[in-house]
Amino acid sequence: MTAPAIETENLTKEYPHGFLNLKKRNSLEGLNMQVETGEIFGFIGPNGAGKTTTIKLLMRLIFPTAGTARILGKPISDIDMHRDVGYLPEQPYFYDYLSAAELLDYFARIHDLPATVRKERIEKMLQKVGLETAGKIQLRKYSKGMLQRAGMAQAILHDPKVVILDEPMSGLDPIGRREVRDIILGLKHEGKTVMFSTHILSDAEMLCDRVGVIVGGKLRGVGAPEQLVGVKAKATEIFFELTGQSAAPLLAKATRTGDRYRLQVPEAELYDTIDQLRAAGAKILSAAQVRATLEEFFMDLVEADRAQAAAVEVSGK
């Protein structure tokens, strides 16, 4: 059995606050999580949920209050682990006096890549993220989206086995988001493990083999997106065309666009409804199952967390 690419055990981070830093606030509570080798793992949660804290702990930018973590079987305190890990910080900012090519060259030197490999790799990376024509422009002249692309390039420059991306789609236009999605999928095809945090749930649903949902510093669920939200359809949506008003009771529940209607009905009532629509002269265009989305699952968790927090506040415990 292959060891997980990323593994955390009871990972906890407390931040001191208040007068003389005497109070402690939990940013992350006992995180136990595994990211398997070769998968795309999405880390989703609202702002302040603990996503960036987790990633910073993994990259040793901050230190845990308790717990341990391993990447590729090595403890995160092992500096050699960083040779095989690529990291994109949230809202990346780099040395603005450098051009993208110079920045990549600087990082390639830190990775100790030979001169011949460096040049070729830098050109390839700039091309991959769509910065080949802007590679010699200083980063201070870059837009937010271009900085994000430069950040992606530096994260994968040294051909890492594990890539950790903190909000990689943030600040990108639809084309940029599509390109980042393609890069992530490309990395998976190359056999790499990708873990990324996001609050854009459609991206997670589209890309991830598994997702972890974190709310209030606690991991609330891990699994394949369809597994998390449940496989059972909650309703069926009938899409039909009707010119008259002969099926008035049904039409009251439908959403209308011109002569076309969308109507959601429980599975048990599906065939009866179709019969009624046909009798009224409707032309059925399609009937599709409606499943719960990751967004609904996510919102349920957030609402539950808020309700629990409010209850604790009221009871004073």
Partner: protein, 258 residues
């Protein structure tokens, strides 16, 4: 160690691109004006005036660079969060700190060397034939550079655990007190309590003695500098820098990056 060198070269490049070396232009103008004025108003002491003014300017400009840029070496990277991507690479925190220190010390070396050339040109203007004793000016410039390296190490240490403003104040404060360490040692101890005597004595040995590096009077009068003083100052600066940088590494290695 190689990675520290990469960071050092990048720090040097940053200083050059941030136009830190523009002060050389100001220094060149100052030296040109001084040599012309000194030639007209100070008969017989042109060399003393030029050397004193030149070395003071090198020291002052170097100090401004050391303190203000030294404090920003780490704090600017933390504020702008450029540090995140760097420390996620296979780079130890001590390598990063050493690289930042090395980069600024290299910048100062280039800066001080260029100003020394300017000073010599001004000296040649007022005194066309140089003597062997004039080489003392070079040793004085070397001592200024050693002093600046020490200031950079202190600035780096303070910036690792406090705000940039406080780090500037602490570094400048220690520099000023460090100029009077000898006076502190020569204080009449019999007038103080036992505890105070011990404290003053310890403090005088704990603080860096910046006055050790000042041989401006010797340089102005072309007096020979003993070899032992050169060795002693070099060793003192190296050991003091090593201690301060070790303290900075200890603090920085445990620091959570917000």
């Amino acid at each position: 160690m190689k990675r520290a060198g990469v960071v050092a070269l990048n720090t040097f490049r940053e200083a050059v691109r941030d136009r830190v070396l523009y002060n050389l232009l100001f220094f060149a103008l100052l030296m040109m004006a001084a040599s012309v004025i000194a030639g007209q108003i100070s008969i017989g002491i042109e060399q003393t005036v030029i050397v004193t003014l030149g070395l003071s300017a090198i020291s002052l400009m170097g100090l401004l660079i050391s303190i203000f840029i030294g404090v920003g070496l780490v704090s600017k990277e933390m504020d702008k969060r450029t540090l995140y991507a760097v420390l996620a690479k296979p780079l130890r925190r001590w390598e990063f700190l050493l690289g930042k220190f090395g980069g600024l010390v290299l910048t100062l070396a280039v800066n001080v060397a260029a100003m020394a050339v300017g000073l010599f040109l001004a000296l040649i203007y007022v005194k066309p034939e140089l003597e062997r004793g004039d080489a003392t000016v070079l040793i004085a410039v070397y001592f200024i550079w050693l002093k600046l390296a020490l200031v950079v190490a202190l600035a780096l240490l303070f910036s690792c655990f406090t705000t940039p403003l406080l780090a500037i104040l602490f570094t400048a404060g220690i520099y000023i007190v460090g100029l009077y360490v000898q006076e502190l040692r020569n204080m009449p101890m019999q007038m103080m309590s036992g505890g105070m005597t011990l404290f003053t004595k310890w403090l005088s040995f704990l603080l860096p003695n910046f006055e050790n590096f000042n041989i401006m009077a010797m340089a102005a009068h072309s007096r020979q500098v003993p070899g032992t003083l050169i060795a002693q100052n070099t060793l003192y600066a190296a050991i003091y820098c090593a201690i301060v940088l070790t303290a900075a590494v200890v603090v920085f290695s445990r620091r959570n990056l917000k």
